[in-house]
């Protein structure tokens, strides 16, 4: 990478014009003790052949903070030592020769308070295309409390959402309306009514349902809220449907959100592809308008799925908790979409805990204090069905939304029956768990017992009993287990 190194033995002035190794410019400081107020990042660095790993790590620190490829005198107009990111530790990735975990500390002053757009532009905006790296992945970040406190955080949070819905003690149930595209507003509302009447708490627009020739957004909103009102009257429960306000411009998004609010929806949704700025704006709007904000993580798996290159979803989850969404799709483990159980556990903990301790087995590299920032409700959605209810509850706990799109709408007796099957299965598992039964081991029996009183559940179990999605995960945590005191 660097053809012009200072010959050994020759003293080189730091600010003489020319090229200097990043590690000599101050970006590699193995003795640096990260401050409590530093933002920390760990990258998985795969240098090109022949590139020294320390130099590669220092280059990542440099190119994600103040450096450029040659010495510049203007550095001397600044307190440059403060602004340089410091790579303070480089470890080999276990079982992955040629890859290294590089730990980098960034001074708090490098960042604008309360801005994910600024944070991401800084950390991932430049360095990922750097030629001397074969691949680069942002694995995890640590945010000091000083920085966390500059964010609004989730507009509603798990506790207040439950209080508004008056639903305590079990996961919430949802379903995405299917088919993904093509239904008109009136027909779409039929699906919403049947599913909510049958027992689900929520239905959901799919990520690509916005405003298309087959259904204008206003017609969807009007028919959906008719369906929600009828379902509330039929059940006595608070019901909702995630009205997707994603649109081409921010102004259009606000227009759609205002209409959803006017019609009385408890919740709206947006897609990750609207961008970090829009997401923060919508979180602010949601708080101001007493509305729950659901985020679909549309597009994330283009960059979160491969270990070598991209951004880990755990970083996205942290950014989204700061940005202020109330729901985030975070994986099902047993469904149709990628999600290793250990990594998914890490994502769920990031959403729900006030403090995440280091847990390398779950991909958590740093202690992270959330300073009482509201908690995000993780959403499990994608190819799950009633026959897996015991596994879902065991693995994901009760503070989540379980969404069964195909698993409701594909029921042989119809949508209402599909919803009822899911609700009965869930209540039966939660009841049994609380009563002290081993739901993971006895799950199938518990579901069979419940199915005796519920034909809809009986049929659901029969229809999907052989459905599993067994593929190897593309993304699993890499760590060296450390010996515990007991060992």
């Amino acid at each position: 990478m660097l053809d012009k190194k200072t010959p050994a033995g020759e003293k080189r002035s730091r600010y003489s014009a020319g090229v200097m190794e990043y590690r000599e410019m101050g970006y590699w400081q193995p003795d640096y003790e990260p401050k409590d107020t530093d933002i920390l990042a760990v990258f998985r660095v795969t240098p090109q052949d022949g590139v020294d790993p320390i130099e590669a790590a220092a280059a990542v620190a440099g190119e994600s903070s103040t450096a450029t490829w040659t010495v510049v005198w203007t550095d001397r107009l600044t307190a440059c030592d403060k602004y340089r990111a410091k790579c303070y530790r480089v470890d080999e990735v276990p079982n992955a020769p040629g890859s290294y975990f590089a730990f980098i500390a960034y001074d708090l002053d490098l960042f604008e308070p309360g801005s994910i757009a600024n944070l991401s532009a800084s950390i991932i905006g430049n360095v990922f295309g750097f030629k001397p790296l074969k691949a680069l992945r942002l694995e995890d970040m640590r945010f000091p409390v000083a920085y966390v406190k500059t964010f609004q955080g989730p507009a509603t949070g798990i506790v207040v959402e439950r209080e508004r819905l008056d639903k305590f003690g079990r996961p919430l149930l949802g379903a995405t309306v299917k088919p993904k595209l093509g239904l008109s507003g009136r027909n779409y509302g039929r699906v919403v009514y049947e599913a909510l009447k049958g027992g689900l708490d929520f239905t959901k627009d799919d990520e690509n349902i916005n405003s298309q020739p087959f259904m204008h957004w206003r017609d969807r909103f009007l028919y959906c809220m008719e369906a929600v009102a009828k379902a509330e009257a039929a059940t006595g429960e608070v019901k909702g449907t995630y009205l997707n306000v994603t649109a081409a411009t921010m102004e259009d998004m606000y227009e759609r959100a205002e209409f959803a609010k006017e019609l009385g929806s408890v919740i709206v949704m947006i897609d990750l592809v609207v961008g970090y700025t829009a997401i923060q704006s919508m979180a602010k709007w949601a708080r101001k308008n007493d509305t729950v904000l659901h985020l679909h993580r549309a597009g994330h798996s283009t960059y979160t799925r491969q270990k070598a290159h991209g951004v880990s979803f755990r970083v996205i989850t942290k950014w989204m908790r700061l940005a202020g969404v109330d729901h985030i799709h975070a994986g099902t483990v047993v469904g149709k979409l990628e999600g290793d159980p250990n990594n998914v556990r890490g994502y769920y903990d990031i959403c729900r805990e006030d403090f995440n301790p280091v847990a390398l087995e779950h991909g958590i590299f740093f202690d992270q204090h959330w300073a009482s920032l509201n908690k995000v409700m993780p959403v499990a959605s994608g190819g799950i069905h009633a026959g897996q209810m015991h596994q879902l509850v065991d693995m994901l706990g009760e503070d989540c939304v379980l969404q069964f799109g195909g698993g409701t709408i594909g029921h042989p007796m119809g949508i209402e029956a599909g919803a009822t099957a899911n609700r009965v299965a869930l209540e039966a598992i939660i009841f049994a768990r609380n009563a002290g039964r081993d739901v993971l081991g006895e799950g199938p029996q518990i579901l069979e017992e419940a199915a005796k009183n519920c034909l809809a559940l009986r049929q659901a179990l029969e229809t999907w009993k052989d459905v599993t999605f067994n593929y190897s995960s593309t993304d699993t945590p890499d760590f060296v287990p450390t010996a515990t005191a007991a060992q």
Binding site: D166, A233, V238, F431, N453
Partner: protein, 134 residues
């Protein structure tokens, strides 16, 4: 109709033995068990009438079941009765489990009123029908 509020309304009505398992679960978790009743099952009616105070210091499921019996003597078969567990720890300070343990003999349900504001927008109002004997 059947109001399906609470955690277990889609299961057959719970027996006392079953209710007691859930009470024990709340006690084991350190949550305060609370009994409430109402004649207004509107989903936005947050504040049901409290039967006494939350039982912060009662760690005996049998004692709680006695309180529930006492409440039923007065309101059983006439009002909705619910039981909940309250968690006062940081990060929650809210109800963690809530389920119906009593219903009026007849549940008259709700009326949905549509107020047509002009154009396609409808303003919905949900009203709980009065319970028999109210």
């Amino acid at each position: 109709m059947r109001v399906t509020q609470g955690c277990f309304s889609f299961l057959p009505d719970l027996t006392d033995a079953q209710i007691r398992t859930q009470v024990q679960y709340c006690i084991d978790k350190g949550w305060a068990v609370n009994i409430e009743f109402t004649d207004d099952p509107h989903p936005r009616n947050t504040y049901w009438e409290m039967w006494g105070l939350p039982m912060f210091d009662v760690k005996d499921a049998a004692a709680i079941m006695l309180e529930l019996d006492a409440c039923r003597k007065v309101h059983g078969g006439r009002k909705y009765i619910r039981l909940s567990g309250f968690d006062s720890t940081h990060g929650w300070e809210s109800v963690r489990l809530s389920f119906l343990v009593g219903r009026p003999a007849e549940e008259p349900g709700f009326i949905l009123t549509r107020n047509e504001l002009g154009g396609q927008v409808i303003q919905y109002t949900l009203q709980a029908r009065p319970l028999p004997g109210a």
